[in-house]
């Protein structure tokens, strides 16, 4: 097995008295599609929020490509190559689709206030690259023709694709997708699966939290199961489907 791109060691998070994550050890293999599944409240989104630094962990460590993420802010982690989407999408409603994606090129461009204010050649050159790349990522998710539409005027399915394009425009090594399939119809879900595979082919490691088992079993090469903040199982799709702990977590304990 190759070097993991992301590794958590005894990662825990307490909210007051509630244990959201309890000493979780996860290793994410580079270049793979890993799914994190589990019932509601299992701690899946909490895990994403800890990886991206939305709040600090209570104990435990997170390492990204061998570097500890302790005391590194969310924007800096994004700059290091960790991108994400949100369960509730969170697009910028005050911009069109293209601008949403252009904005995500922030850490891949350098020119500052002064260069912007005076429209120096450096600013213009970088602006050109930014818009070209933004169009590229918009096309990647198939939204090229909606570039000038306000982001929130798009239907939910396209909003979710736009959120992926925005995350991809940060040019990440690791892409965290929080319930990308929720609210999509069957056709959209199949297209989403293809898109995720295409992104993997681009060399991006993908971790997704997802409830839709068809989608998960179809694309995930490794599955981690969380329940009540603990990792109860991991393995390939067929291993997980037969695991008795997973079955009981989803269906409840069998009563004698």
């Amino acid at each position: 097995m190759s070097e993991p791109i992301l590794k958590t060691d005894g990662l825990s998070k307490l909210f007051g008295g509630l244990v959201a994550l309890d000493k979780v050890d996860i290793s994410i293999e580079a270049g793979k599609i890993t799914a994190i599944i589990g019932p509601n409240g299992a701690g899946k989104t909490t895990l994403f929020n800890l990886i991206t630094g939305v709040y600090p962990s209570s104990s435990g460590r997170i390492g990204f490509r061998g570097v500890s993420l302790d005391n590194i802010s969310t924007p800096r982690r994004a700059g290091m190559g960790i991108a994400r989407t949100f369960q509730n999408v969170l697009l910028f409603g005050n911009m069109n689709a293209l601008e949403n994606v252009m904005t995500a090129q922030h850490s891949r461009s350098r020119y500052g206030f002064l260069e912007a204010a005076l429209r120096l050649p450096k600013a213009r050159r970088e602006e050109e690259t930014i818009s070209l790349k933004a169009v590229k990522y918009l096309n990647l998710v198939g939204l090229g023709m909606y570039a000038r539409q306000n982001a929130l005027s798009l239907p939910l399915g396209q909003q979710k694709l736009l959120a992926i394009a925005r995350a991809m425009a940060t040019e990440p090594q690791l892409l965290l997708l929080d319930e990308p399939g929720a609210g999509l119809n069957t056709l959209e879900k199949r297209e989403l699966g293809d898109l995720i595979r295409r992104i993997r082919e681009m060399g991006v490691t993908i971790v997704l939290v997802e409830h839709d088992m068809d989608l998960v079993m179809g694309i995930a090469e490794w599955i981690v199961v969380l329940d009540s903040g603990q990792k109860i199982a991991e393995g390939t799709a067929s291993q997980i489907q037969r695991d008795p702990r997973v079955i009981s977590a989803y269906l409840g304990e069998e009563s004698e």
């Binding site: 802010s73 969170l90 697009l91 910028f92 005050n94 911009m95 601008e99 904005t103 204010a117």
Partner: protein, 329 residues
């Protein structure tokens, strides 16, 4: 033919108002409005700063008059009491006001929404009281007169006619710089913060840092405007820098369309003319607060994007209807 004519339109759109602006102060044109136009130019500089902060970044400030006043007083005191070159005084004022804004920005931007509004409001009140009470430096409530004029080489800006061009040079320069910033990666970062802070952070935008930067920039704009004001009036007193002044800046920004740089001129002009020409009448004393409140409500309800963008949209709608009727002759 038609396509070519259409392509020439933008130049006309830029050139016509510029020519108009240049001609205003001449006596045979609109010379009698020179003075009010100078105030509109100065106020616009403050308004644009708030547009960047409030309209683009989504951060409220009800204390912009504090920075406006700091620029004014630093210029006044340095150039009059200490005989510092007025341009240098202006620069020192901008730097000091910017540094002051930077120092208070980190604690202030731990707050959001109403709390941020209250904190900046408090700041404005405190600074205003300092202007009034530090009378050995500021001249207290009576203010100080005899502030020198600005000059470049042999050109002394000693008449309103000359100062008109000086002020509008600064004003247009600031509008242009701001327009460029808004259209850049910085501008997108600011709008992203307004849109959603969590999402902005997830794409590597340092939210706090940008709020602080734009706050400092708005303070520097206001400070420059304050310096120009005292060299125009050649007098300074606390009166133009009170709480009502901060509210007026907010009303001007809202009126112009919070997220519109050029709208700032129109918003500022509309409110300035209203306050100087209408609300200054003796029988209307005290009604200004009521009128500003009403304007805020009406604009927010009916023209939420401000007067400028609102009218532009009305025009677009009219043009569309015109086109639908098959207007090609």
């Amino acid at each position: 033919m038609l396509a070519r004519a259409r392509r020439k339109w933008p130049y006309l759109i830029i050139a016509a108002p510029l020519v108009f602006l240049v001609l205003i102060p001449f006596d045979w044109f609109l010379g009698q409005y020179t003075s009010i136009m100078i105030f509109i130019g100065i106020n616009t500089m403050v308004t644009v700063g708030l547009c960047l902060l409030m309209g683009y970044t989504g951060q409220i400030s009800l204390g912009q008059a504090a920075f406006y006043g700091m620029g004014a007083y630093i210029s006044a005191i340095l150039s009059k009491t200490y005989h510092v070159n007025p341009w240098l005084a202006m620069l020192i004022g901008a730097a000091a006001t910017g540094a002051f804004a930077y120092a208070i920005a980190y604690p202030v931007f731990r707050l959001r929404g109403y709390y941020l509004a209250m904190a900046t409001l408090g700041l404005g009140v405190i600074v205003y009281i300092l202007f009034r009470e530090l009378d050995q430096y500021t001249g207290g409530p009576d203010g100080m007169a005899g502030i020198p004029c600005l000059s470049i080489g042999g050109l002394v800006f000693d008449t309103p006619f000359k100062r008109y061009f000086l002020v509008w040079f600064f004003c247009l320069a600031i509008l242009l710089l701001s327009q460029n910033i808004v259209k850049s990666r910085t501008g997108r970062a600011l709008r992203a913060i307004h849109g959603n802070e969590a999402a902005a952070e997830s794409i590597a935008i340092n939210v706090t840092q940008f709020k602080v930067k734009i706050f400092v920039l708005s303070a520097v704009y206001a400070s420059l405007a304050g310096s120009l004001l005292v060299h125009h009036l050649r007098f300074v007193s606390p009166q133009p820098f009170g709480f009502l002044a901060s509210v007026m800046v907010a009303v001007m920004a809202v009126m112009g369309g919070l997220a519109s740089i050029w709208g700032a001129i129109f918003g500022t002009a509309a409110i300035r003319i209203l306050s100087d020409e209408v609300l200054a009448k003796p029988e209307l004393v005290g009604w200004d607060v009521v009128v500003y409140g009403a304007i805020l409500m009406i604009v927010m309800i009916f023209l939420p994007q401000g007067l400028f963008v609102g009218l532009k949209e009305l025009y677009e709608r009219w043009r569309l209807r015109y086109a639908e009727r098959g207007a090609e002759p």
